[in-house]
């Protein structure tokens, strides 16, 4: 066990680069994970998140960079170090679960302990404990081929944690489950991870999953990191249009920063839509006076009403009204632009009517394009 305290940066990934042919799949990625925390790599397919995960697992090599876990260097191109995957003490849950069909649930779960040459009664105890944790005790001796998708998933999880590894890696483990099961498993997974307290890195393209489960999210695109931060921060303070759009939904309009009124606050002029209007807003990091920016307003932060008085609002026409049960998804046309608005379920909106939109400066963001 390590004597030095790496708890703040238990997993350290530094300057990771991986080429596939001419394609720079991972382009200089750096991040760290504190001990016991849950980090998600989030992005669409092809963004490099799975490649990063595989590199940490040691299932393939890298072209540049360093990967350290708990003070031990797993991979370092500078020092010429590459620890093979079976020596990395990592528990991994694969997208397809990878449950071995020729073994029972118990045999699958016991495998890592057998490799580590644990005593048979230790193995039995540990396996039983872990199966209880994931809720599969009745299926202990069932053959793997007889399990449902959800049950295989839990078996995979049990197998990953049974040897108390230093690190847990998840490769989109919920993407093959149906919606209800997915929502249920998200919460389960998080609970179990919290209970066993193993540092975890999770890969997904589902932003809702990321928001529910993570302590920290790393949003990736085309091999690079767009933004790192906690769920709330990422959601409310996206740094650019991409992150805005990827997490939740956002209305994104082109605009220009007219002036900076205070640190982090300013005024923008919208260059898209029916008329060029000016709105007070928050300025994202690195946004300066005079530059082109993207104005991001979440649908739930657009106030829509039939009342035209008060602060100078935007006048638009209701295009579509979709009743979603707990809210109304309303589309409003404003010139060439179509606003997405989430309105209260009892708002009276009718297609074709004029509607007035108002904005709260605290929730109007100017971000990098």
């Amino acid at each position: 066990m390590q004597t030095e305290d790496y708890s703040g940066r238990y997993v350290e990934v530094d300057g990771l680069v991986k080429w596939f042919g001419n394609d720079r799949a991972v382009d200089d990625i750096s991040f760290s994970v504190p001990r016991g925390k849950f980090l998600t790599l989030l992005g669409p397919s092809g963004c490099g998140k799975t490649t990063t995960l595989m590199s940490i697992a040691g299932l393939h090599g890298i072209d540049a960079g360093t990967i350290r876990v708990g003070g031990i260097t797993y991979t370092s191109t500078a020092e010429g170090i590459f620890l093979p995957p079976e020596k990395r003490d990592i528990g991994m849950v694969f997208q397809s679960y990878a449950i071995w069909p020729h073994m029972t649930v118990a045999e699958n779960v016991a495998y890592p302990l057998e490799i580590r040459k644990a005593a048979p009664n230790e193995i039995r105890e540990r396996v039983a404990e872990v199966l209880r944790l994931v809720g599969l005790t009745e299926l202990t001796n069932k053959l793997a081929t007889q399990l449902s998708g959800g049950q295989q998933q839990r078996t995979a999880l049990a197998r990953a944690i049974v040897s108390r590894p230093r690190l847990l890696l998840f490769d989109e483990p919920l993407s093959n489950l149906d919606l209800k099961l997915r929502e249920q498993m998200r919460v389960e997974l998080k609970r179990i991870q919290h209970e066993v307290g193993i540092t975890s890195i999770y890969v997904t393209h589902d932003q809702a999953e990321a928001l529910v489960m993570s302590d920290e999210i790393v949003v990736m695109s085309k091999g690079r990191i767009e933004q790192k931060g906690g769920p709330h921060e990422i959601y409310t303070r996206p740094v650019n249009a991409y992150v805005s759009n990827f997490i939740g939904t956002a209305n994104l309009l082109k605009g220009r920063v007219v002036q900076v009124t205070a640190p982090g606050r300013g005024e923008v002029e919208l260059t898209e839509g029916a008329t060029p209007i000016r709105l007070p807003c928050l300025l994202g990091e690195g946004i300066m006076a005079g530059q082109q920016a993207v104005i991001s307003v979440r649908p739930e932060n657009v106030q829509a009403s039939r009342d035209s008085g008060g602060r100078a609002p935007i006048e638009g026409e209701v295009l579509q009204v979709i009743f979603l049960g707990n809210c109304i998804d309303c589309r409003v046309r404003w010139g060439e632009f179509e606003w997405k608005v989430l309105a209260h379920p009892r708002a009276e909106l009718r297609t074709g009517e004029k509607i007035y939109l108002r904005f709260d400066p605290e929730y109007t963001l100017a971000v990098q394009p």
Partner: protein, 583 residues
């Protein structure tokens, strides 16, 4: 729960230094296997290339460097004609095999032909038998003067001369085409069965009838499979030795393989010229195989998913009995007729073209099989014994090699894997007789010369790609993540192989083993170059009887070989199941 009682997998300090990280179990194994495969495959070819540039002088012992061998390819009286004959035979066989294979596959996979499931195993039988034996049988059936069919047509139908004649190039095409039609069948039937019915359904909903759909959707989708099969049949026909040796060479139509054979060990043996011819033949076949592997096989349009498909079945109405009749006719003509003919010939002491019930005896079987008897023929009895040993040992070694090589190709990345993949396809492109010449010249100075070992080496070199492709196709169907999760759980590369990969591959491994067993048991082209007294194989025994004894003895040993092969087919079907022979 005390964590300390179970050691973590990270026990040592990490390996430092670049070269230490290269020396893993996996990389050492890859290196060793690659060297073995490279030595086995590349050395003989290399020797052949060198030999082809050595020109034999008049005395017959010394050589000089030169291009005369290649010049002779064009100037010799026979070689260019042999080349043309080879092309004709290959093309003809491919066309015939394609016609038979595709029609039978379609009937089996897409129509309501009665009992089509029961018929299928019989459609495949010709693939497992020896084409050389097939040629012998057809010679006895349809040779102009002594063929049974011609004799009957003369006696009962009043035909004046002969009805059919297989002792020519058409006979070679006929026999080769029939014996390779199962290859085509397998390529096509697999494609047809795995096709997603939605592809055709969408054509049907757009208004196309079933027949139109077949021609505009189904067949084009199967086209890559057909093309792959055609190339394999073409190449295999070009490398076939036994059939032209029996049916066409004696009557004036030589082929490249029979010429290579006579140049290798014929009267004025000049194996350097044989090497040049081998290079020419090998270059052509290798080219076709390359095209097939790189450009056609990957373009498979059908997807393999876990969902079971119920493909669309065409209702033939009354015509389904015609289809049934066609299938039965194929089985009768391709399988039953030749075997019956051989049986009849084998029980006569001397064959004069007439069935003489009073003269019938099993004495020929005693002479060829009963090695304890005084008057048994050693070449024949040795043949059975040696072939079994070679088949058992060879299939086992080849499967072990296939397993390791497949694992390396599909589970590792990088240059080594691609090199191995390429090395594994190379032997398919060279006919057995060519490879055997290379093996002979390479290893003649080593202790394995004139022993069973050199024959074993020839077999494994030539045929282990077949085992490897079998294992590969099963391995591809098994997710890579199953191996990866074992690695993540802490198992070394070797432990993963032992506990996860091999148990999951067991059905494919066994299927490959039986396939190789059958191929080795009936092999002729390699054995005939490498054998000596005491190391004759079963097919060499038949060849010996053809050369030095008479038709009935040849027929007896041929029947014995056929019976053994048929038994193997039954075992194969039992164990491997229906989908095992995926091409």
């Amino acid at each position: 729960m005390s964590v300390q009682t179970i050691p973590t997998a990270v026990t040592d300090a990490p390996l430092s230094g670049r070269w230490r990280s290269l020396v893993t179990q996996e990389s050492v194994a890859i290196l060793i296997v690659s060297m073995i495969v490279a030595a086995a495959v590349l050395l003989p070819l290399f020797t052949l290339v060198i030999s082809s540039f050595q020109v034999l002088d008049a005395g017959g012992f010394d050589t000089t460097w030169g291009l005369d061998n290649y010049r002779a390819l064009f100037t010799d009286r026979i070689i260019p004609k042999a080349f043309v004959n080879t092309l004709l035979i290959s093309t003809g066989s491919t066309v015939l095999a394609a016609f038979l294979g595709i029609s039978l596959a379609w009937i089996n996979a897409r129509t309501n032909c009665p009992w089509r499931d029961r018929l299928e195993p019989y459609n495949l039988i010709p693939f497992f038998l020896s084409p050389f034996v097939g040629a012998i049988a057809w010679h006895n059936l349809a040779s102009p003067d002594i063929g049974l069919i011609n004799i009957w047509s003369r006696d009962y139908l009043g035909v004046s001369d002969h009805l059919i004649n297989v002792d020519n190039i058409y006979g070679v095409i006929w026999v080769t085409g029939i014996f390779f039609s199962p290859l085509m069948y397998l390529f096509v039937v697999g494609s047809l069965r795995r096709m997603d019915p939605a592809l055709e359904d969408s054509a049907r909903t757009a208004g196309a009838g079933l027949l139109r759909t077949t021609f505009t959707v189904t067949l084009p989708l199967v086209a890559p499979g057909i093309l792959s099969g055609a190339i394999i049949v073409f190449v295999t026909s070009a490398g076939e030795f036994g059939v032209p040796f029996k049916l066409s060479a004696p009557y004036g139509w030589e082929t490249l393989t029979t010429q290579i054979f006579s140049k290798a060990v014929g009267d004025d043996a000049n194996h350097y010229l044989g090497a040049a011819m081998s290079m020419a033949l090998g270059a052509i076949t290798a080219f076709f195989i390359y095209i097939q592997q790189r450009h056609i096989a990957p373009r498979s349009f059908t997807t393999v998913t876990g969902k079971g498909f119920r493909p669309n079945v065409l209702d033939l109405g009354r015509w389904r009995w015609v289809a049934f009749g066609y299938n039965i006719a194929f089985i009768l003509v391709a399988v039953a007729l030749p075997i019956l003919c051989l049986l009849v010939v084998s029980v006569h002491p001397v064959w004069q073209g007439k069935i003489i019930p009073s003269a019938m005896t099993f004495h020929n079987y005693e002479k060829t099989l009963f090695f304890w008897q005084q008057d048994s023929i050693t070449a024949a009895t040795n043949g059975i014994y040696n072939s079994f040993i070679l088949a058992f040992a060879g299939a086992t070694i080849a499967m072990v090699l296939s397993l390791v090589v497949s694992h390396m190709i599909h589970r590792t990345k990088g240059f080594g894997a691609r090199l191995l993949d390429f090395l594994c396809v190379v032997p398919i492109g060279f006919p057995g007789i060519v490879l055997a010449m290379g093996v002979l010249v390479t290893y003649i100075k080593t202790p394995i010369y004139a022993t069973l070992w050199i024959i074993l080496l020839g077999y494994i070199t030539r045929f282990f790609p077949y085992g490897q492709r079998n294992v590969s196709s099963v391995m591809l169907a098994i997710s890579e993540e199953l191996d990866q999760s074992s690695r993540m759980a802490g198992a070394s590369w070797f432990t993963t192989l032992r506990r996860i990969t091999i148990p999951l591959l067991k059905p494919g491994i066994f299927a490959g083993w039986v396939l190789l067993f059958i191929i080795f048991l009936r092999e002729l082209s390699i054995s005939i170059i490498l054998y000596t007294s005491g190391t004759e194989t079963l097919s060499v025994g038949v060849y010996y009887l053809v050369n030095f004894e008479n038709e009935p003895l040849t027929a007896a040993l041929s029947i014995a070989q056929t019976v053994v092969l048929l038994l193997c087919v039954i075992v194969f079907r039992r164990v491997a199941g229906r989908e095992a022979l995926t091409a």
